[in-house]
């Protein structure tokens, strides 16, 4: 009897309303992706019809074939995955260690160093574009993987450090004291104790770094010239004409480019909300 009342209670007006609103939000959120996939299967001309979505007369799988072959998709995907993967790993490593050093270790400049690192958030990427090019050229780094890896890490680091320090505050110092008593060194504390406790924060940093750098084009186009290390956004460019572009294939490329990012988000999604919220309160 009680159970019955409970199930009945679940479907009150408020609850139905909540569901309707949530479904609406979900549709709005997912719509761009549906739209992207829909247009990637149409022909360039069908795109300009009046409706919101097009119903292709013939499904144009050829767009994807073109994206793969003419767009050098696999090479660029490999580069993107490698560069972004490395960037994420290094950002996590550096920000975790820096956060620990600035928050938990007692030294005179800890506050200043942290502030200096966080100041990086205020530097606009575009202002550094040409000076960096000059420096890389002098060092012979243009057109190498470092030309992208260095700025990707540098620009993601401040935000990562900010989240990490916020989260680190939530972990009681007593845990570390106990570890020290038991004879653990600094690295053991950081990687065996702190790291597992900060899982959600690490996931957040990973997602943010990955999404920020995945679609980055400005720096990539300036620092790279040969196809060896070009990343996925270049694939879209292969179909950009002088005046008008092959939109349909570009949509196919973008759908393919978006897929890994969506995948990463889905995989790490569980942690991200937690991570952002906790980091935010304890800044």
């Amino acid at each position: 009897m009680e159970k019955k009342i409970k199930t009945k209670k679940q479907w009150t007006v408020g609850r139905v309303l909540l569901w309707v609103v949530l479904i609406c939000v979900a549709v709005i959120q997912i719509f761009p992706l549906i739209w992207l996939v829909d247009f990637s299967l149409a022909s360039s001309n069908e795109m300009f019809t009046k409706g919101l979505l097009v119903i292709p007369q013939k499904i144009q799988w050829g767009n994807y074939v073109k994206a793969f072959i003419d767009g050098h998709f696999l090479l660029y995907l490999k580069n993107s995955l490698l560069i972004n993967g490395l960037a994420v790993l290094l950002v996590i490593l550096i920000s975790l260690m820096a956060a620990f050093a600035c928050k938990r270790m007692i030294w005179k400049m800890s506050g200043l160093v942290k502030t200096l690192l966080l100041l990086g958030m205020m530097i606009p990427i575009h202002a550094t574009l040409l000076p960096n090019y000059k420096i890389y050229n002098m060092l012979g780094l243009t057109d190498t993987i470092w030309a992208l890896l260095i700025p990707y890490i540098a620009f993601s680091l401040p935000q990562a450090l900010f989240l990490m320090t916020g989260f680190l505050d939530a972990i009681p110092v007593e845990l570390e004291e106990a570890a020290v008593m038991d004879g653990s060194g600094i690295y053991r504390i950081v990687f065996r104790m702190i790291l597992p406790l900060m899982k959600s924060s690490v996931a957040t940093v990973a997602i943010m770094t990955f999404l920020n750098n995945w679609n980055e084009f400005m720096m990539a186009s300036t620092y790279l010239s040969s196809p060896t290390w070009k990343t996925l956004p270049f694939s879209v460019l292969e179909f950009t004409g002088q005046y008008s572009s092959n939109y349909a294939v570009q949509f196919a490329v973008m759908a393919l480019t978006a897929a890994p990012a969506v995948l990463v988000y889905i995989l790490l999604n569980k942690h991200i909300t937690k991570g952002v919220a906790m980091g935010a309160v304890k800044g």
């Binding site: 001309n45 490395l86 012979g140 057109d143 186009s221 460019l237 950009t240």
Partner: protein, 458 residues
């Protein structure tokens, strides 16, 4: 004191740990690849400078030419033409390897600035217009070309002017571009409209076409430059010859001359008469063009490079076979005639002044401009008219549209040359291309508009 020492040591330790940790984790994944690439880049960098120098002198040895292009799509249109010539050249000169780096216009111009500081590629795309070329020539990154060498290349008279400065030639033009109204002849006939004789007829046509449920003129207003061309066209109709007047206005930053006011008013009259589609001021190239190719618009104002529409299989045959063109009609009391056309030579190529293989680069440049390369391939692919005499390549199978464009050029009594937006410094170009929508849709007044673009010249 002790504390300080301890703190210092800890900091050092942490820094060392950072570096060590950095190296350790990263190594298994990347060093092999990254190290290789850095060392390869470093060696190639140093060896290139030495070897290429000796290579170019000893002909027959391997030479690498770097080409920086603004045509990222290598499978269609102008990009295909460029790539075909490059492939031809590599075939004929097996010792030459050509590396192409291509970016779209915006990214191209950004990277061009970076290259201007250091390490310009050997052959580059340029625009023979003050808005682009002035700053580039001031930086001294382009090599001077020998004018006499190009006497036999059949360049259309005046087409080299934009690429010269102080009597020296720095680049060669790729195309001759002409602006005009593409129109759907069948739609005109079916509805009993006639091709306008004067600008006033054109405006009078607007309500008729609108009433029939079509868009009179599809306009790419979102980009700014097509309307700047439209304004140039009108200026020519009002004044007859605009070159000197515009140059003077740009130099003085003063656009108060009655011709500018009149032309801008005429441009606004087009918008007010409902000649353009709703939302023209934010819609882009593709949207505007598709209004026309889908048969929703009766006319489309654009350059001659779109003459390839008549060959484009993606466009429904009903529209494709009926595309014709007319140039901007004369105004009632203007000094210019319909045959004073808006035509200019925009894009082109140049050789880098600091190129280590300059001789080979110039050789390749000359190869591109051999009459049976850029001109012929361009004509066959329908990407527009070249800046050279191409009468030798008429096949007789030209589309009606191509023939019309040829007639427009052949019968022209004068040409505008570089369009107004490209005649000033880059700040002026940005200003006019972002302000022109505001004056047509009535957000700013004609006088304010002219004052704003005047200020941008200073």
């Amino acid at each position: 004191m002790k504390r300080k020492v301890v703190a210092g040591m800890m900091a050092a330790l942490m820094a060392a740990g950072l570096l060590a940790g950095c190296g350790n984790t990263e190594k298994p994944a990347s060093t092999s690849a990254a190290d290789k690439s850095t060392s390869a880049a470093a060696t190639s960098e140093s060896s290139k400078s030495e070897s290429s120098k000796s290579e170019s002198t000893a002909s027959g040895d391997a030479v690498t030419l770097k080409i920086f292009s603004n045509l990222p799509d290598r499978k269609n249109g102008q990009g295909l033409v460029e790539q075909t010539i490059i492939d031809d050249y590599e075939k004929e000169n097996p010792n030459v390897k050509i590396e192409v780096e291509a970016l779209d216009e915006e990214a191209y111009k950004t990277k061009f600035k970076a290259y201007a500081m250091d390490g310009m590629p050997d052959v580059v795309s340029i625009w023979g217009q003050p808005s682009f070329l002035d700053e580039v020539l001031d930086a001294g990154v382009l090599a001077e070309l020998d004018q006499d060498a190009y006497k036999d290349y059949g360049f259309v008279s005046g087409s080299l002017d934009g690429f010269m400065k102080d009597g020296k030639l720095y680049g060669l033009p790729r195309n001759t571009d002409v602006a005009g109204f593409y129109y759907n002849e069948k739609m005109f006939k079916d509805n009993g409209w006639s091709v306008p004789e004067t600008y006033e007829d054109l405006l009078a046509l607007a309500p008729k076409i609108n009433d029939a449920g079509f868009v009179p003129v599809a306009m790419d207003g979102g980009d700014g430059w097509p309307m700047a061309i439209y304004l140039t066209d009108l200026l020519e109709r009002v004044d007859g010859t605009i070159s000197e007047k515009v140059n003077k206005a740009v130099a003085d930053g003063d656009f108060t001359d009655p011709s500018f006011v009149k032309a801008t008013e005429l441009l606004k009259a087009s918008a007010d008469a409902g000649l353009f589609q709703t939302g023209y001021d934010s819609q882009d190239y593709g949207t505007a063009m598709n209004l026309f190719t889908n048969g929703q618009a009766a006319m489309f104002y654009m350059g001659s490079w779109e003459a390839s529409m008549a060959l484009n299989e993606d466009i429904p045959a009903e529209v494709r076979d009926n595309i014709r063109v007319f140039s901007m009609p004369a105004t009632k009391d203007g000094k210019g005639k319909q045959t004073d056309i808006a035509a200019w030579n925009g894009g082109g190529y140049a050789v880098s002044a600091n190129s280590k293989v300059k001789d080979e680069a110039i050789k390749f440049l000359n190869y591109m401009y051999q009459p049976d390369k850029l001109s012929k391939y361009g004509w066959e692919n329908g990407v527009g008219m070249s800046a050279q005499d191409q009468s030798a390549y008429m096949t007789g199978n030209e589309t009606e549209l191509q023939k019309q464009f040829l007639d427009i050029v052949k019968n022209s009594t004068s040409t505008t040359g570089t369009t107004i937006n490209d005649r000033g410094p880059s700040a002026f170009k940005t200003s006019i291309e972002s302000e022109i929508q505001n004056v047509t849709n009535g957000t700013t007044s004609v006088d304010d508009f002219l004052a704003t673009i005047g200020t941008a010249c200073k």
